[in-house]
């Protein structure tokens, strides 16, 4: 079993215009930096991106927005990106804003082979418009469908040739869910380790969900809000 590919360019080789991509990360934490750069370079257009956020103006998915490669964003919060807001208000960009837990669980449902979920998030709000409402034990829930994505791009801390992945700290966020949810899942890792080195008990994403894996490079790991406390 060897899912290792050479680099990000090879990872994105068959991504086509107008496809749907899941892109892992929360804010700029745990985003697949190398794959995003390769998508910018490849120049694919008309993409639908499922990602909690849309990066910032000059980093993360903001780079794909800058190059007008994204047709539609499916996100929960896009507040850090002025270019995003501009494209949205001018009508260049379609946006589906959905609750964060709904976003995460629709990814998870795809990976669990479940076509839909019920969640109370958004009941009685504009998120519920056009959706089936079902009452269970006296409480209303919305029917929300599992996502379908042509590709999922995720970033992990460690991985092996089988595609097994371990994430680090809060950079885990949406990554394991999207890894499960993509039709073709591409993982970039900080440390590609020999098979057998990862403790089976510690693996977050079993390799069966991962189709391609590569050793990432030049991670910038930008911090959005650098907050510190004084030393006493």
């Amino acid at each position: 079993m060897n899912k290792i590919i050479a680099n990000a360019d090879e990872a994105v080789r068959d991504v086509q215009d107008n496809q749907t991509l899941m892109v892992g990360g929360f804010g700029l934490c745990g985003i697949p930096e190398n794959s995003i750069s390769a998508l910018v370079k490849k120049g694919v257009k008309g993409l639908t991106c499922i990602s909690n956020n849309a990066g910032v103006d000059d980093f993360g998915l903001g780079l794909l927005l800058q190059h007008k490669q994204i047709k539609k964003m499916i996100s929960s919060y896009v507040g850090e990106n002025a270019e995003f807001e501009r494209q949205l208000l001018s009508g260049e960009l379609e946006v589906d804003l959905i609750p964060q837990g709904t976003l995460a669980t629709r990814c998870m449902a795809a990976g669990y082979g479940m076509p839909a979920i019920f969640t109370p998030a958004g009941v009685g709000t504009e998120v519920a418009i056009g959706k089936e409402v079902r009452n269970f034990n006296g409480k209303d829930y919305l029917l929300e469908y599992a996502f379908e994505a042509d590709f999922a791009f995720v970033k992990a801390w460690k991985g092996d040739a089988h595609g097994n992945l371990i994430f680090r700290s809060t950079s885990r966020n949406f990554n394991p869910l999207m890894a499960m949810g993509g039709k073709i899942t591409i993982a970039e890792v900080e440390h590609l380790v020999p098979v057998g080195e990862l403790d089976p008990d510690q693996i977050h994403t079993p390799g069966i969900y991962v189709h391609r894996i590569f050793q990432g490079s030049n991670y910038e790991k930008r911090i959005e809000q650098r907050t510190v406390r004084p030393r006493v």
Partner: protein
């Protein structure tokens, strides 16, 4: 009249030992600075962490360790990290005891609007809709009136809703109010130096005043 820290301090009195608490961005985040002595609470950050610690010392920031406001933070002994589906799973399942968040408007039946101003602000709801739909206890921390001087406590919200009938308590710079199950803002306490008349003037929704309203005592 309370400043932002005063509002946070006032809300911190609601914390009980053993609570799991989710703090929203803004004033709610400040509540963590006023956790009463002898009370142990575990802070949940919805990007996937239980046991959120203080900001790191300069030079020790870890880009892989942030809170839901994208700020660098630390873990504590006993912290746990998990993915976003599990994070909202525990929220949806009602495991989080208390959610504290900000609002643009609250209505007298407990509806909350805090995510969108049509045509102006399109940032998104983040985890707020999930939190308000499932939390057992929701306290709103906010200013009583908006920048234009208009009441944010209304008979009915005018902005797009985040959740319906979910807010239990509201703390503003002027007072503490409880949202009654049958509707109405029941005045519980006045902020230092604030009169009932001032609160009445700043509240557009139904305000319920029973007997003498005590002035709050903050240590």
């Amino acid at each position: 009249m309370l400043d932002k820290n005063g509002i946070a301090k006032c809300i911190a009195r609601e914390l009980k030992d053993g609570y799991y608490v989710n703090l929203g961005i803004g004033i709610p985040t400040l509540v963590a600075n006023y956790i009463p002595e002898g009370i142990n609470v575990t802070l949940q950050s919805e990007n996937g962490l239980l046991g959120m610690g203080p900001f790191p010392y300069e030079g020790e920031e870890d880009p892989d360790l942030i809170n839901a406001g994208k700020q660098t933070i630390t873990t504590l002994p006993g912290s746990a990290v998990f993915d976003s589906a599990l994070s909202f799973g525990m929220i949806r399942a009602g495991k989080v005891d208390l959610t504290i968040l900000g609002a643009m408007e609250v209505s007298e039946n407990g509806d909350i609007a805090n995510w969108k101003i049509p045509g102006k602000m399109v940032k998104g709801m983040g985890g707020a809709m999930d939190l308000v739909a499932s939390a057992k206890n929701i306290i709103v921390a906010m200013q009583h009136v908006n920048k234009a001087g208009e009441s944010k406590l209304l008979p009915k919200c005018t902005l797009p809703l985040t959740g319906v009938g979910c807010v239990k308590k509201i703390v503003t710079e002027l007072c503490v109010m409880e949202v009654l199950p049958e509707g109405g803002f029941k005045l519980l306490e006045r902020a230092p130096g604030v009169s009932v008349e001032e609160i009445k003037k700043a509240t557009l929704g139904k305000l319920i005043i029973e007997g003498d309203i005590p002035e709050m005592v903050l240590s």
